[in-house]
Every structure is written in C-alpha cells, then in structure tokens.
Symmetry: C2
Subunit: 449 residues, 2 copies
Amino acid sequence: MEFKISKELIQELEQLIQNKNDQQLEVLLNDMHHADIAEILDELDFDEATYIFKVLDSDKTAEILLELEDDLRENILGRLSAKEIAEELDELETNDAADIIAELSKDLKAEVISELQDVEHAKDIVDLLRYKEDTAGGIMHKEMVKVNENWNVLTCVKEMRIQAENISRVHSIYVVDDENRLKGRLSLKDLLTTSTKTPINDIYIRKLNSVTVDTEDIEVARIMQKYDLEAIPVIDELGRLVGRITIDDIIDVIKDEADKDYQLAAGITQDVETNDSIYEHTKARLPWLLMGMLIELIASYVIKGNEGTSQKFYTLIIFMPLLSATAGNIGVQASAIIVQGLANGTLKQFSRSYFSKEIAVAMISGTIIAMMVLGYHTFMYGQFQVGMAISISIVVVILFAAILGTLVPLFLHKNNIDPAIATGPFITTTNDVFGIMIYFGIANLILGF
Amino acid sequence: MEFKISKELIQELEQLIQNKNDQQLEVLLNDMHHADIAEILDELDFDEATYIFKVLDSDKTAEILLELEDDLRENILGRLSAKEIAEELDELETNDAADIIAELSKDLKAEVISELQDVEHAKDIVDLLRYKEDTAGGIMHKEMVKVNENWNVLTCVKEMRIQAENISRVHSIYVVDDENRLKGRLSLKDLLTTSTKTPINDIYIRKLNSVTVDTEDIEVARIMQKYDLEAIPVIDELGRLVGRITIDDIIDVIKDEADKDYQLAAGITQDVETNDSIYEHTKARLPWLLMGMLIELIASYVIKGNEGTSQKFYTLIIFMPLLSATAGNIGVQASAIIVQGLANGTLKQFSRSYFSKEIAVAMISGTIIAMMVLGYHTFMYGQFQVGMAISISIVVVILFAAILGTLVPLFLHKNNIDPAIATGPFITTTNDVFGIMIYFGIANLILGF
C-alpha cells in the first residue's frame, strides 16, 4: 500500500527529463502524494529536481517545497524569481510560508512579500516573521476559525463557512470580543444543536487553555501533551487572539528537542546531517574535540607529575583506561537519567532521596567492579596490596563520577543551561581528569611511592 | 492561566485527608483537570493518594489513572477490587483500558475482564490484548466511525450519530464493505452537502493510507508524519478494518524512540526513571559497566605487553587519556550522525560520498589536534621525534575511530540491530582498546622501543 522509491522509477524519470517529455512526467507524478514527490526529488540531482519542479503545478510544488531537504530547497528557490516564489507561498499556510521567507536573503524577502497576491495572507505572514523561532509565536499559524461573542448562532455558522474554507482542520472554534480578545471556545455540537437565534454569549465555554506569543515552544509542547490538546490558541500581551498551534506543529518541536539532547551528548553543536558540507561538520564537531583535548592535556600533566619509576606506578598505569572508562560510563548514566527526569518532569530539582539512591547504585556497582579487578590483579600479578589500593581508588572514583554526574546537570538546569551538556564530552573529559587525580592520589596515600 | 502545584495546596489537601473532609476535597478537586490531579497525587504519599482517588468519581479517576506515575498506579490498583478496577476501565478508551489490564497479574486480568459492564467494550479490549506492544495493533484503539459502502447518506448520518457518541475526536469516517473490509474514507463535507438518498458508494474517496496490525509502531509514526495524517486506519491480514491510530498515540512512540536512543547511548538498557528502585537502576546499568570493564581489561593487557622502561614509554603513557578521549569523542560524533540520519531517513545505507566526507572531517580534526599536541609536547618536553610519533599515532587513531564510528552503526542497522548501541559504552570501550593498540603499535614502529 505504501509508496516505495525504486531505481526503475528514478531511471524512468531521468529519461523523461532528458527527452523533455513534460506531459508524461505530469502523468506519472500527478497522482503522487507531495511527500512522495519530495522524496523522489531528493534522490535526483539539482538540475533534474528543478526541472520536475517547474513542470508541476504550484498547488503541488508549494507543498513539495516544504518537504524537501534544506540544500535542495535552497537551490530551487535560488533559481526562482521573486514572483515565482510568491506564487508558491500563496498556496501555503501562513506559518509554512513564513518559515520559507525567513530562509531568504533580506532583499529577496521584501521583494517576495511585495509579490504576494493575497493581501490578507501577506499581512499574516509578515506578522508571523516578527516572532522568535522557538516561541509559540514562531510556530503558530494564522489559520483558524474565530467568532464574535456578540454574534448569534446563524451569523456564526455563516462566518465559519467562509473562514473554514482555507483551513484543513477546524479543531476548535474560538470566541473573541470586539477587541479580538480571546474569551473561550465553542463546541461544534452545541452550535449545531442550538436554535439559530441564540447569542453565542449564552453557549460558549469559558474555560480554555491558551499560551502567549512568547511562551517557549517546548513549554507549549508540554502543555499540549499534558492536557491532550490537538490545538491551542495563542494570545498576545493584551490577551488578543493572534494565532493557533496544532499538534502536528508540536511533533517537530518534540523531535527537535530530543535530537538536541542526543547531539549535545554526542558532542555536536548544531543540527548537522549527513548531507551537510565538510565545513559544517567540522564547525559543529571540532570545538568539542579541541575542548576535550585541552582538558585531557591536564590529565597528561597529572600523570607526568605522579610518574615514578617503581613497579607500582606501572601497575596503576595499566588500569588507567579501565578506570577512566568505568567512571565515564557511570557518570554519563547518572547524568542521562537526570536529563531525562528533568525533561519529562519526574524530577524538578535536587532530591535527597534520589541522590542517596544514586550513591547506593554507584556503591554497589563500584564494589562489584573493584572486587573483580582485585581478583584479576591478584591472580595475574600476585600483588594483593597494590590490588587493594587500585580497588579502593576505583570505588572512590566511581562514587565521585556518579555524584558529579548527578549534580552537574541539576546545577546547569538551575542556571538555565541545557543539562544535556552534562552527558557530553566536556563533562566526560573533566570527569576523566578528576578521576586520574583521585586515582593517583589515593593509591599514593596507600602505597606511598 | 496554567496550573501550578503549590506547597500550600498540598498542605491543605493533607489536612483535609487527615480530617476525612471528603466533601471539601471534592469541592477543591472537582474543577481541576485530571492531568493536574494526577500531578498532585504523584506528590502525595501512597495512602493519601489512594484516599483522594477513592473520594473522586470514577469518570474522573479513570483518566487520572492513566496519567499517574507507574509505581503509584500499581499501588492504587493493588488496593482496588477486580470490580472497582473494571469500573474504572469502563470509562476509558479501549487502548488505554487494554494498557492497564496488561499490567495486571494473570488471574486478576481474567477477573477484571469478567467484571466489565459493557460487553462490546470488553470484547474490544480483549481483542487489543492480543497484539504486541510495539505494533500498530498494540497502540490502536477501537473507537472510530465506520459506515457501510452500501448505505445511503441518511442511514450513514444516523449511524454516525450513534457511533460518534463515544468518540472524542472523529477525524475520519471510514467506509467498509459487508465483510468489514476497509474500502476508503468519507469527507464530512461531502456527506453534509449531498442529498440524503445518495449511496455512499458514489461519494466516498477510494484512496487512503492504512497500516496492518503488525506494522511496527515507529513505522506507523513515520508514515503519519510523512503524510501529515492525524489518524490512520489499521487493517488485519484480510484487509478488515480493526482499529485506528491517532496522532496523540504516535507522540508517545516518537518520544519513546528518541528516549531509547539516548538511553542506549548513555548505557542504560531499560527505561529507568529517577523514582525506580535501586535494584532496577542497578539492573539497567551494571551490565554495561561490567562489559566496559571487561573490555578495558584487554586494554590493561595491551599496555602491560608494551611496557618498557625507557623514557619514551612514559611519554606515550601520559598522552594516553588524551588519545582515548579524542578517539572516543570523534567516534561517538560519527556514530550519532549516522544514527540520526538512519532515524530521520536522510541516510538509508552505506554511502560512499558520506563516507569520504567523514574521513575528510576526521583528517582535518585529527591533523589540527595532532599539530597542537606536537607543539605542546615539543615545548614542554623538547622531544620532537617522540612528539612526531605521538602525533602521527593520534591522526591514525582518530581516523580509525571515525571509520569505526561510521561503519558500525550502518552494519548494526543492516543486521536489524538498533544502531544507537554504537554510541554507547560497548563501542566506546572497544574503540578505546583498538586505539591503545594502534597507538603503541605505531609509536613502537617509529621509535622502536
């Protein structure tokens, strides 16, 4: 049932493009879903993709534009005139159109806007451009059904018919006063079962969740999920209804947020994708690598400082990678649990009971690992005393890593820094340096080399 | 506008519970949203939460039950009789009810099902219990509006009114034949603008996305997002319409999937949360720690084998943490980009062009880092030759880590193993061992100690 791209299809399309057989291309693609066509265009080279794009109707291409990968979209837009871009945007919902305009150069932006045919639509798009990307204003759209509290049911139904024409999904009917201030919502059922002369004022529901234009997008996502809403109205500082956010807008927010955590944990700053350039990849990744390197230079300094010629020093050295890895692993585990707890709301701040739980887990894990290392070391090298020193150090380092792993993300969160950084290279390398210091320090105390 | 839990509210509730002032409790909580009440109950202790739960009406408590944290829900369910649980389930949608039943013990399960009042509802719930959790069958619900292709518009509207009563959001009207096989969907607009005698057969839309009961849940999520669907019908092997999945069901799938990747990267097997027990935490985390430890024992063996008494060996040792960390970081970066590329579909398999890009990024980063280390080493210790050996090894190790980081997740993906494992402790520690081997090997070749 589902569409699958085939090599044959791609070859057929390339052949048709070469022969400039526009008619056959249209026949082949006309019945396809715009998301499928976008998937096909992403497989073709830029010239071929642009060729097909120009063959298709603008009601189709507008939607395709939204689904394309960034670099292809940029390329195609670069080959269109301001007027042609405006034609595409006239077909789109306000928020999608605003997103595309936001990607254009400043000059082109103004030109495209002036070419938009539908003045109301243009005004709405310009309005949306004012808001920051990661706020309710930045993700809302202008398309919605709203009625005046002073109307009666008949006027209301008439007006709704006009408004609903441009809206794919009604979800809710919002009620405003003469100043456009949001007052409540209307149930479709009530509207259809009440006499046509009933004033809206008598039947609308006063209780309604809403967000303001500057509410953070992840907060909007949280509210909509918590209350299981499919749409939420957006108001400005004066309580005026200015837009609406639907659940499909929110899915992207949720995914982006999860992706960002994952990327921070992996030491990638921006949202790089496989098809970004070498420069972009290096820019997103090298700073973390360099930072990690600089921190680890401190580690080299610590080792150098502890260098001894005794056999004991050698024995410590050979377990250093084990120690680093174990401490790193437990630290990341501890941080990741905190980061997720903060993200899904099961944890709000430092909790003594959770902290002691984490210490217990670290103690249990640390002891088991230390005992195994002690056994291995005694068996392999027969030095029980050195083994004991190493094992005790391992427990302490693991404990320390777990504590740091728990406290650092909480500290970052409290200071409004994304706690997901605490699962990334900065903390793991820092942890490494502390671990090595503690390791040599304790072993030194016990063994006295 | 939004609800916020306050200490005062919690104290007031605790006071009312102590005084057994049920009436006041009801007054206080009756106007609240069930999600807010669940948030409050999560803050109280089990006895208090159960007390409030029993005071409230079952139409409210049923919804609250769904929102509670797992351990509290389990606790409350444990204090209810089979009949009481059944009363709660009668208020819920089929999929939510099935999820709760699935958590019960085998004996209790049967008892609760036999106590369900609404026989149709019970049948639907039992039907849902058959499907695996992570399939379309496992997340779909039975509530939907379906009409027969042989009906006319009038019969259709009448039937719809009856069916729609139990459904919070209609989304789509599905058309089936006499055998209940899915044929297409009906647009509400067409239904309302056609004469009442028109046969459904003349007006329904034949083209319709659907999934089968055993489609993986993440595949359902992908399809619904790609085609921007708010609901999708689910059919069985014979093409019969058996359920429906809505976009809010999918949000959980998307979040769980993202969480799982993050957890695998952090070395946590199960979905542990801050409020899980020490045992559960240890069970989810210790295996990864032990595996990391065992792999690193190999590293200790490699170092032991290369042990020399020369000054050169010492110099190699002090940069070992730097080498491990840098290789680890670049390996995780490479893997994470692949994992995300596979997840969002921008990458489908091994791509030569991406592979060469990754090698370029690794070469650039490796060279920059190696040159900085060479500079530092020459400045600090004045041994240019040893510095060169270290720097060359660093470039090779980084290159190796990037290649492994790129290929391993692709290999895992091809063999149907979750590629996110490649960003976790297993690969980072393995990488570490290889890195140390290469490091000593190359340095040994150059320096000949």
